[in-house]
């Protein structure tokens, strides 16, 4: 802080350069300065999400249409003999276009992960905020639940639920939801525990703010960046979990497709059709990697306590 005081009556302020006048997008891009890797990851992620959303307009083939004559065609840029778009990533054991299946499979993988993180994130965050703010027996019960869960791997819980509910996209989502909400609750709780003791909260109470106003108006916006980091990293985690479960045959069921299921189905042809396994795995890896890079970037960039102070 440069000059501290001028006159008794008027304390001068320097107006900052008109940062506010830049448009939102420019300001957003500036956030990436010095971290080009995160920017690339962000763009790749946006492309993958866009392709998943607009799959019907982008996929060159119907992902379910089999063509036994042209089965297990290797990747090729040449147009197939029957005409039409080249099978860039080859065809599978039923002659279906791998690229199209990858695009539609991504749709399923992304929507499972997104649904889980959205619902689990919302439920977990609210529970964690309330539990952390009030403490007491609610918090005690919650902490014991978390302890039990942490001594128990998510995969086994998810498998148990799929076993009793039956496989499929909906039940897989439910199973992952049950596994996934606690980490958000835990995260929100730990953030609130720190924020609860802050002068900011005391000041809000001193002027007479209501509990919801303090919790959702002041605490939540200030702890949102670690929470968003958790959402992004959990999204990656859920994509991996979905792939794992589908690969084992307890997730997405054919004829629907997801990246994990494609690897599971292509596995037996691996010796003569490597492309069935290599591409879905690569795209899982790329998506998860990008989510991790973006998540870490959010953590470093948007922490108000790190940025605000000089």
């Amino acid at each position: 802080m440069s000059q501290d005081i001028q006159t008794n009556a008027q304390i001068q302020i320097e107006l900052r350069e008109p940062e506010q006048n830049r448009n939102a997008f420019q300001r957003f891009l500036r956030r990436f300065s010095g971290n080009s890797l995160a920017l690339i990851a962000f763009i790749v992620l946006m492309v993958i999400i866009a392709v998943s959303i607009f799959a019907p307009y982008i996929a060159p083939y119907d992902p379910a249409k089999s063509d036994i004559v042209h089965r297990l065609q290797p990747p090729s840029l040449a147009a197939p003999a029957k005409g039409g778009f080249p099978h860039i990533l080859g065809t599978d054991q039923q002659g279906r276009d791998v690229l199209s299946r990858l695009i539609y499979g991504g749709r399923v993988s992304m929507s499972v992960a997104f649904a889980v993180v959205a619902v689990a994130g919302a439920i977990g965050t609210v529970i964690g905020l309330i539990s952390g703010y009030f403490g007491g027996w609610v918090d005690l019960v919650f902490m014991r639940l978390v302890d039990i869960q942490s001594s128990f791997p998510g995969l086994l819980v998810a498998l148990t639920f799929v076993m009793v509910l039956g496989p499929g996209q909906r039940n897989l989502t439910i199973a992952l939801l049950i596994v996934g909400w606690m980490i958000h609750a835990r995260m929100a709780r730990s953030q609130v525990l720190t924020a609860r003791e802050s002068t900011m909260v005391e000041s809000s109470r001193a002027i007479g703010c209501s509990m919801p106003r303090i919790l959702f108006g002041h605490i939540l916006p200030n702890v949102i960046s670690p929470l968003i980091t958790t959402y992004v990293l959990e999204m990656a985690h859920m994509i991996e979990a979905e792939a794992n479960m589908s690969f084992l045959g307890y997730g997405i069921q054919p004829p629907a497709s997801s990246w994990g299921l494609m690897i599971g189905e292509g596995r037996q042809y691996i010796t003569n059709a490597w492309w069935l396994v290599v591409f879905p795995g690569l795209i899982i890896g790329i998506t998860v990697l990008c989510l991790n890079l973006v998540g870490n970037w959010v953590r470093e960039e948007f922490d108000p306590l790190q940025k605000g102070r000089h």
């Binding site: 039990i148 490597w274 795995g281």
Partner: protein
């Protein structure tokens, strides 16, 4: 210390009981294994008979108390699928997985710790950046896919190892290598991070200033202080792997271990077997956590129980 361990053990019992009851209630309230066990055309009488035979027609509280009574004698009942005591099957499968996980962790530690230290020693260099990026990529790739890639390259293309099976070292290397990738990434990152932190700490600077060699600063001071976070991470990975996360990789390599057993159990809706597995997983994880906690006291003399 004794008191602390005793309290922890007591707590462990509570956690194991809680988890077991939770799984029991979930499976018995929502689940309906009879439909999977009988063919589609089975009559209602046949279904009812099987239900009676499995004891599923009794009130839930009776079933639960019978289950808990058995659990205290470590008797989870006979596996519905194999008709032998469930715990025996599980214990029989553990050594294969233990062998795999132990090998994987040894590989991970041997590779990751030196690399992490090198990266921390010269932070910001090209080598450091390559190592941190590679370890992140390693964590992000699905292990079962990595396993398939290893099969494709080392087994199919080069023919060095068997694609699947169990018994010799040529069977063991590929699945162990596959499973080591994620812990390797985790460990490399945590070693790199905490060592860099320790090397920047005041005491390291003091040690250097008084003329200690780089080697002494790295190994005598920084590594010991970074050890708690390394052990925590290693313990978490060990717990995860022993608790069934090996399933997909075991399936890829046809490894007859605990993971494969879990996958089969789920497919066959074998409740007693599942309960035995859940019990064992909870025990393993609780004891790993306890061991990790106790090790803190060794690495960090400030911690007393």
């Amino acid at each position: 210390m004794k008191r602390y361990i005793l309290m922890r053990l007591l707590y462990t019992v509570v956690v194991i009981l809680g988890v077991s009851i939770l799984v029991f209630v979930i499976t018995h309230v929502i689940g309906n294994p009879v439909n999977t066990m009988l063919p589609l055309q089975a009559t209602d009488a046949e279904r009812a008979a099987l239900k009676h035979q499995l004891g599923l027609d009794k009130p839930l509280m009776v079933q639960l108390s019978e289950f808990l009574g058995g659990m205290f004698r470590l008797d989870f009942g006979k596996s519905w699928w194999q008709q032998v005591p469930a715990l025996g099957i599980v214990l029989h499968k553990i050594p294969a997985t233990l062998q795999l996980v132990a090998t994987a962790l040894v590989i991970a530690v041997v590779v990751a710790i030196p690399l992490g230290i090198i990266a921390a020693y010269k932070p910001g260099t090209l080598l450091d950046r390559i190592l941190t990026t590679t370890s992140l990529i390693g964590i992000c790739l699905p292990p079962f896919w990595v396993g398939l890639m290893f099969v494709l390259f080392f087994a199919v293309k080069l023919g060095w190892f068997y694609t699947s099976g169990y018994g010799t070292i040529r069977h063991l290397i590929l699945p162990a290598l596959t499973l080591s990738v994620v812990p390797m990434g985790h460990l490399a990152q945590i070693v790199r991070f905490s060592m860099a932190e320790q090397l920047n700490a005041q005491y390291s600077i003091t040690a250097r200033a008084k003329g200690a060699s780089d080697f002494a600063v790295l190994f005598a001071h920084a590594l010991k202080n970074a050890a708690t976070s390394i052990v925590t991470m290693g313990g978490m990975d060990l717990g995860r792997l022993l608790a069934g996360e090996t399933a997909a990789v075991e399936v890829v390599f046809g490894w007859p271990g605990f993971g494969t057993l879990i996958v089969d159990t789920i497919g066959r809706q074998d409740f007693p077997l599942l309960q035995a597995e859940v019990f064992l997983v909870a025990v393993i994880i609780c004891f790993i956590n306890l061991a990790v906690d106790i090790s803190y006291g060794y690495f960090d003399p400030r911690i007393r129980y």
